[in-house]
């Protein structure tokens, strides 16, 4: 079966700084692929290549069999409608309430009535347990709530692929666990294909079907959580060994 996401020998540099150097990996339908690695190793850049925000200098990026860098604007917009992206900060529109933020993709991209939109939005808001904060604005809610609201907005368009950029960054352990549980819930309920970029080993072990370790712009180790637990690779030990955070 053709992987939903496939990167082949991807290279990317910003000026003289080479970020990705021959990156290759594939994600199967319905699986969660976790990417771990040091800061500046190119994890977020990889996600931006998958969703077409960046183009590779060399190599291929395929999503659902389509070459993302060679898609025209309409093709890219159509592909993005099947994808969701959870930003590290949540990236909620500051002057809109949580409800309006979640409703935004439906209002802009569909011809649903306000009643139908309300039904879908409230379903997603209930899923992330933010019913009480629906009328609040982003600057009135905590970091964890922003991420949950961002996740609700990501899910409201019923994506087939979800990309998570550091979903637990800056959160306390309890909120971090809540986010991990939500990612698992989303996986089970919607059967989405996911790529998760994280620093947290608890997140990697909880949500990942495959865990990959990034270094110098390429993957140096990859395997199931059990395989990674028993790996002797020094970088795997550094990122995944020791006590759970």
């Amino acid at each position: 079966m053709e992987p939903v996401i496939r990167l082949e020998d991807v290279h990317k540099a910003f000026g003289r700084r080479r970020i990705l150097q021959g990156l290759s990996f594939a994600v199967e339908q319905g699986k969660t692929y976790v990417i771990m690695g040091g800061s500046g190793s190119g994890k977020s850049v990889t996600l931006k290549h998958i969703i077409g925000l960046l183009k590779p200098d060399e190599g291929r990026v395929l999503v659902k069999g389509q070459e993302v860098p060679s898609l025209n604007r309409e093709g890219l917009l159509a592909l993005r409608r099947k994808m969701g992206f959870l930003f590290q900060s949540g990236a909620l529109i500051n002057w809109m309430s949580v409800y309006d933020n979640v409703a935004l993709p439906l209002r802009e991209n569909t011809r649903l009535t306000e009643t139908e939109i309300r039904e879908r939005v409230m379903e997603c808001i209930r899923l992330v347990e933010l019913e009480r904060a629906a009328d609040q604005f982003p600057d009135q809610i905590s970091g964890g709530m922003k991420k949950r609201a961002g996740l609700a907005r990501t899910l409201v368009g019923e994506p087939e692929i979800v990309l998570y950029d550091e979903p637990n960054a800056g959160l306390d352990p309890i909120m971090s666990e809540t986010i991990n549980r939500l990612i698992l819930d989303v996986q089970e309920r919607f059967k989405v294909t996911s790529v998760v970029v994280t620093h947290k080993r608890a997140c990697a072990y909880t949500v990942g079907d495959i865990i990959a370790i990034f270094d110098s712009g390429r993957i140096v180790a990859e395997g199931s959580p059990d395989e990674m637990r028993s790996s002797d690779h020094p970088l795997v030990r550094r990122f995944l060994g020791g006590i759970m955070d």
């Binding site: 159509a78 990236a91 529109i93 802009e108 991209n109």
Partner: protein, 268 residues
Amino acid sequence: MGVLDDLGSGIRRSVTGAGFTLELLFCTLWRLPHLVRKIRFTLDQMFASGVRTIPVVMVVAVFAGMILSLQTGIELKRYGQHTLIGNIVAISMCREMGPFITALILAATVGSAMAAELGTMNVSEEVMALEVMSIDPLRFLVLPRIVALSLMCPLLTIFADIIGILGGSIVASVHLGVSFSFYLNSARESLTTIGSGLPKDVYVGLFKAWVFGITIAAVGCSCGLRAEGGAMGVGSAVRQAVKSSFLLIIIFGYVITWFFYSFLNGAF
């Protein structure tokens, strides 16, 4: 070499910025048919950029009219020509000062706010979030702002013209001994005797205001969308937006005046 390098990179930055702004403007105008779905947001922007600016426009316009009336009136009185003050204030306000002061106020308040809003959205990944949601940032953010300011700038200019002329009448009456009714009659005559229909001084002034409104919004949005590097980047975008808007208002003001009063009249 260092000075030449700095000069070269400065010129390259300016040309890149101008190119980005022009492209942004044309791409946004291409999206005008989508305005129907953005009426509510456009009205919000019109309220924020227009209605909220009325008090400051009112104060500046009334004092501009008073200063113009006083400075010109004192000189005219020496030659016994101070009865012309109504004509002079009316023509100056409608032709030049009304659109000019309105545009400067809008550039400093609304244009800078647009650069700050969009700049903050850009550095906090909100603009990128719109793109990944397949929402066109030009249609969603820029189009309503440009349309709102292109409508509000001429409307505020009409308001500034009227208030400025009335401000001039106070000085004419108190300091120059020209009665209110005489002043208003001469102001009205000076604006209605030239040609038929809408007087040239008024429609050229309003055309200027329309161009200024589009310019301020396009420059503000362009600087905001190019902001990078956190709070410092947003600050720099705001500064750049105000600076560029002021320069373009003066340059476009001259070009429009030259076109209507010199080129079209065959004087140049």
